[in-house]
Each structure stands twice: as structure tokens, then as C-alpha cells.
Symmetry: C2
């Protein structure tokens, strides 16, 4: 690590997203002086390699943030609510991966390719959006810039890893049991997931929507800066280990051809067009895992409505949908001169 640079804390360093955050940080050009790994008492003492050294996981406490410049939180909403204040008081900027602060007015909710400018108004906490929201922000912002968007309808195909390592482990163990004709037990998901699709992610709200669907509605409006946007989401868990997929339909303010949309997508940072039906190539979960990019394909004009387009989006929900977007926020804070260090 560098002599000069930032002190970065990772809260929830041993979780599915925390581990990916470390991978992302390892690879970055950012000057890093020290990385502090924080987790619950259960994980304290574990050693985790980082840039050739073994870092020891420390137990998270209110005193953990002395000297920390930026604290990446990925240990669930309750932990964020309990410790974010202490981190901010110690002078750190909190980049929080939970939903705890996302809709608070003084908390920027940021997908760097879309609204990095919002970081300038932070008051100590920056929120990382929900995974399924993040991945559709890139193509939607591309279309907003090209033609204006009026209405979005999205149906998701979300992987088990959205529920963390426990979700991955449960799907794997359940599938093995199913194949071996042993009883299938479920704890993480509401019902057994192997060979089924569950139209439930999160809890149900009185509106009939799930918390995940509500997040896609409210967060999209905030990130895109379109407070009147009509967004309707249906979120479903599919028996995929990692990688989220989405079927998106958009009504635009003016007509845009498939070719124009493709150009807008291709020109947008972080977005890769994979749309070659003749060779049966389109975004899949397997192809997006382990990549930082968001993939868009199956771009089609509506049969009837001249201002409507349909497309398919895939991304690694643990990377761009979580760890990578959070680390990109740190990078953006650095580039904008917002990090002390």
C-alpha cells in the first residue's frame, strides 16, 4: 500500500458483497494507505489477503472509524443505521450499500455514469442504489439523453446472490438435494427456489408491491432526476446463482429507431451492447458474471407503438449491482476532490 493515500474501511468485509469490494479496491488506481476490515465479532480475527498482505478482520465498534477517510458499509441496513453516524462524526464519508438512507433528501443516491454530480451535495453519507435499480439506470439514462423517457415497465430475473452468500449456498444445496431426490429445505427464500421462479423479493408492502419493487420505483426517479417518471417493476427470483437479468419496456417522448437506441447505448459509459440474434448472442447471467460492465441486447421496436422500445439488460449484481458501483463512488469522490486524505 502507498505511504500517502486514503484509509478505507470495509464494514461487512466477510460478506458476499464485502469480499467483492476488496477485489475491486485491490485493482484500483486510487492511492490507498490502509484498508480496515470490519465485521461482527463472529468474523473478527479472520485473515483476508489484500495487495500481498494479510489483513486481520476487526470487530466493528463506534471507535472503528478514527482516521478513516471513507467507510464502505455492506452489512445490512440495521448495522448501517447503528454505525453510520459514528463514522461520519469521525470524519469519514460513508458509502452505504443498504437501503437505510437511500431515500433521505440529504443523501445522494449515485450511479456514477448517471449522476456523479449529486455527490457534490453529500453531507457525510452517500447511498449505493439497489442492485436491480442500478443496472437499468445506464440504458435508461442513455435513452433519456437521446429521446426523453416517459414510462418504464420492467420485469426482473434476479439471482440467489441478491440475498448474499446465504442465498447462493441455499440454492446450491437445494439443487443438489433436488437432483439427488432428498428433501429440499429453505430458510433464505420464502419457498424452495430450484426449478421454480418466486415473484417475491423482499417483503410485501400494503400496496401489494414488494420492497424490491418499491425500491426500483422510488430510486429510479431519484437517480434519473425525473420525479414524475412512471416506473412499474415486477421482481422475481430465478434459480440463477449470480447475475441479474431484466426485461425492460420504455415509452419515449419522441420516436427513436432501434439503430439510434443502439448507438446511444454504445456511446454510454459502462454499457456494452450484445445484440446479435443471427449468432444467437444476447446478454446472459453466465456471460456477465465477473465483469464490471452492464450488458444490453434484444433491442426491439414495438410492433404498434412508435415511441416504444424493448430491451434486455444483464449485469453482475455483486459487481456493478453492488461492490463495483460502491467502489466507483469512492473513485468519483476522489476525482471530484471530495475525499480528505
Amino acid at each position: 500500500m502507498a505511504e500517502q493515500g486514503y484509509v478505507i474501511a470495509v464494514v461487512g468485509a466477510t460478506g458476499a458483497v464485502g469480499r467483492e469490494m476488496l477485489l475491486m479496491l485491490e485493482d484500483m488506481d486510487l492511492p490507498i494507505k490502509e484498508v480496515k476490515l470490519l465485521a461482527s465479532a463472529r468474523s473478527a480475527g479472520l485473515e483476508v489477503p489484500f495487495r500481498g498482505k494479510d489483513l486481520v478482520v476487526q470487530e466493528l465498534s463506534e471507535e472503528s472509524f478514527q482516521g478513516v477517510d471513507v467507510a464502505l458499509f455492506s452489512a445490512g441496513g440495521a448495522r448501517s443505521k447503528e454505525y453510520a453516524d459514528a463514522a461520519v462524526k469521525a470524519g469519514a464519508i460513508v458509502v452505504d450499500n443498504s437501503s437505510a438512507f437511500r431515500m433521505e433528501e440529504n443523501v445522494p443516491l449515485v450511479v456514477p455514469e448517471v449522476n456523479a454530480h449529486a455527490l457534490d451535495d453529500h453531507e457525510g453519507i452517500v447511498a449505493n442504489p439497489n442492485c436491480s435499480t442500478i443496472q437499468m439506470m445506464l440504458p435508461l439514462q442513455a435513452l433519456e439523453q437521446a429521446a426523453g423517457i416517459e414510462r418504464v415497465i420492467v420485469s426482473t430475473y434476479q439471482s440467489a446472490s441478491g440475498a448474499g452468500q446465504a442465498g447462493i449456498d441455499e440454492l446450491w444445496a437445494q439443487t443438489r438435494s433436488y437432483i439427488e431426490k432428498r428433501p429440499v429445505e429453505n430458510k433464505v427464500f420464502a419457498k424452495p427456489l430450484p426449478f421454480d421462479v418466486l415473484p417475491q423479493i423482499g417483503d410485501f408492502e400494503p400496496s401489494g408491491y414488494t420492497t424490491e419493487e418499491e425500491k426500483m420505483f422510488y430510486e429510479s426517479r431519484k437517480i434519473l432526476g425525473l420525479p414524475e417518471l412512471a416506473v412499474s417493476a415486477t421482481c422475481a427470483r430465478v434459480p440463477v446463482l449470480r447475475g441479474h437479468l431484466e426485461s425492460v419496456s420504455v415509452d419515449l417522448k419522441k420516436a427513436l429507431s432501434v439503430e439510434e437506441a443502439r448507438k446511444a447505448f454504445e456511446a454510454f459509459p459502462g454499457l456494452v451492447v450484445v445484440d446479435d440474434p443471427v449468432n444467437m448472442d444476447y446478454p446472459t447471467a453466465h456471460a456477465c458474471v465477473g465483469h464490471r460492465e452492464t450488458y444490453v441486447g434484444r433491442i426491439r421496436a414495438d410492433h404498434v407503438l412508435p415511441k416504444t422500445l424493448h430491451f434486455w439488460v444483464a449485469c453482475d449484481n455483486l459487481w456493478k449491482g453492488a461492490a463495483w458501483n460502491a467502489v466507483q463512488i469512492v473513485e468519483s469522490l476522489h476525482e471530484r476532490g471530495l475525499l480528505r486524505g
Copy 2:
């Protein structure tokens, strides 16, 4: 079997749908004098139990249809095109499960709960719609009657069994290989399906849509008798063995509350509402397999648009999506006095 009654031929009797057709026929009140099982030379000679007797599969030929009153075809479009004429010439009514004749003007395309009346105009061939089309026809017709429908956006979650027994076998074998960390081979699907989602069902058309998506567009308009209806489908294959699921958004001609929609669904024949978020109950693939009904749940009002509703539909694609709908057509032909016998 009865002394008096119909002679029914099943073409493709040993396939995934053909076998389910026999199960459905076994259970019916319809007077059946004889069931003839027809298949390719490869399957000829196999014995299949039916109502306590063993029926011998015969090789399909142009002479197979002498004395047949109704011929259920489920052996692929090529076979239908080759033999349907011979069956009609022999005096049989053909109920065809392939896409060969669906869009021909003189061929009724029928979901009995929706448009049994179309059978009256048959000229020898009746078409059974595409599986993913059938299951959304019931809730859409319920809403058409209650409020009028203007636009439909649907994203599907379709199981491997949509590609027949070979699809089921491939997903099962691939999943076992994946779990046991052996190489995964694919023949039926364009890419390996375990733990992934493939936004391709059928082949790609020049429009960028797949044949499956085009079917949902054209067939829906014909069945519902709404030639101007805007229907946009995105069809995806999910690693589910049996049972198709759909996320449907509908713009109505007039506002309808969730409660009114629920009542319309509950009153519609063949439709069962499973929509109890508090108890985490909603339609799934596992719960619909082996049932003749179509299940609807997750009924929600749009956040913004007063005339828009969203819901989730599941059905056993081999039963209501294929075999049961075909056998229901036979039943409707009988009830309408259209079958000779």
C-alpha cells in the same frame, strides 16, 4: 371404452404433450369408442395403457385416419402440414397443437373459456394456441369484459418442457453435470440453461423478435378478437422443468381497482386467484404443475397510471398450455354438436 362414442387419434402419442393428452382423455366424461395412438416408425409397437387396456402405438401414415372422428396432432409443425389434410379428407376434425395453421383465416384458434364460439366456423382444422399465449388469454379476457384492454406488455419465464421431453431431459442432465462439476453439453437450447436465463425461445425474425414473441402478438389478437391490440412480449427460458410464469402489465380502457380485477378473475372459468402476500402466497411453477387451472396473483395497481394493472400468471404449460386446452377443444366440439360419431 364405450360401445358408442368417438374414435380419437393422437398423433405424437409418445411425446411430452401426447402423453399428457392421453392422461386428460382418460379422465374425461366424453364418450370414447376408440383411441388410436399414432407416432413415427421409431415408436411404433410401444404399448401405452389407457383406461385399463394396453394400446399399441401405430406408425403414422395417410391411411391412419379412416373412421377417426377427431385427430389430436402434437408431433411438430412439419408432421401437421404433412398429414392434416389426409385426416380432414378422411372426415376427422384436426385439433393441431403446432403453429402450422394457427394464423390461417379459416382455422379457428381457440381457448375454450375465451372463444369456443369460433369453433362453429371450422373447416376441418382447429388450432391449439401457443402455450405462453394460452395462459394469459384467460386473465386478459376477464379484463376485456370488465374494462376493455388497450395494451399488453408481457415478460415470460418459460420452463424447459416447452421444448418437449428433450428439453426437460437436457435441463435435468445439465444441472446434474453442473452440480457434479462435469462439462455441460447443450443440444436443445442455444446455450446451457442451468443457473441461467436465455432470452430466446424459438428462432429470431428479421424484426428482432423471436418466433415465440411474434406468436404471442399475433395469436393474442386473433383469440381475443382485438385486431388492433398492442401486445409486446419478451420471452425467456428459465431453468424450470415444467410450468410457465408470466409478468403481465395491462393498460385498460377504463380504471379498474385491484378488488374489481380480482373479482373479474375469480368469476372467470378456469382461472384461480392465488394472491395472499401476507402469507407469501402467489402462483409458482411447482404449485401449478399437474393442475388444469391457470393461476393469477400479485395483482397490483400502477403507482402512477390509473388505468394500468399488473399481475403474475402461472400454468402447467403441458396441460392448460397444450394437452388440456386441446382436449377441452374436443369437449367443446362435442358440446356444440360439431363432432360426428
